[in-house]
């Protein structure tokens, strides 16, 4: 399953890109598991995902909990808690 990852704020800075296409193995079924798997792909990913409690997620542009299943997702976003307004 190929999915587009998008990153914002310090997650984007630590990874070094705002967007990438990834192809996780079938054993990765939730966003939390995807984060653990992505953390292995580079030191930047490892730094961005070192503390999963500080991450928030969106699936196909809607906010979701980090334990949400990824089946059928086209775009998954990972970012820090929001600070607008």
């Amino acid at each position: 399953m190929t999915v587009t990852m998008v990153y914002f704020a310090w997650v984007r800075e630590r990874i070094g890109t705002g967007e990438e296409r990834v192809d996780p193995p079938a054993s990765v079924t939730t966003i939390a598991e995807l984060v653990d798997w992505l953390a292995l792909s580079s030191p930047g990913h490892a730094a961005a995902f070192a503390d999963p409690a500080r991450l928030r997620a969106a699936l196909d542009q809607a906010f979701v909990p980090i334990d949400t299943p990824i089946a059928g997702a086209r775009e998954i976003a990972l970012f820090p808690p929001v600070t607008g307004g």
């Binding site: 542009q61 906010f63 976003a77 820090p80 929001v82 607008g84 307004g85």
Partner: protein, 149 residues
């Protein structure tokens, strides 16, 4: 009617308030507004707003729709700036228009409280050569939570 704008340009208060006053079939009897400004009190020189295009507009529309479902409103406006800005500049403007003041005042508070926690914006502050991402505040989460009942 719902008006959602995400823009790099500065926010024109008079144009936005006039729009909120006159929107809808019969216009408004009351318009409440909130304006958020870049603060300079801790040495911030530049504030940069990053957002999630597409998801931002969807989240702001959901916030505005929440207000329309709770109160009888003739207009809801949310204008949020993105990109670099400086102390004193407007970051965000929300307006709620209704026949009488209670609905517009309450809806205005709801809009800014929910926007703070529900819309994908991130602030980065620069002081001299030091840049840092603003941390989310528990107080904002508490303010948004009072509207969940």
């Amino acid at each position: 009617m719902i008006r959602i704008i995400v823009q790099t340009a500065s926010i024109d208060l008079l144009a936005e308030i006039t729009q909120a006053e006159t929107a809808g079939e019969r216009g408004a009897g009351a318009v409440a507004t909130f304006t958020g400004l870049v603060r300079a009190d801790d040495g911030v020189e530049t504030l940069e707003l990053e957002h999630y295009p597409g998801a931002t507009e969807a989240a702001l529309t959901k916030v505005a729709t929440g207000a329309v479902e709770r109160w009888e409103l003739s207009a809801v406006t949310i204008v949020h700036r993105v990109g670099p800005m400086h102390p004193g500049e407007r970051i965000v403007f929300v307006a709620a228009a209704s026949a009488h003041r209670a609905a517009s005042l309450e809806a205005c508070a709801y809009l800014i409280d929910r926007l703070k926690t529900d819309a994908p914006f991130w602030k980065r502050e620069t002081r001299g050569t030091q840049a840092s991402w603003v941390e989310a505040r528990d107080a904002d989460k508490d303010a948004a939570a009072r509207w969940t009942s």
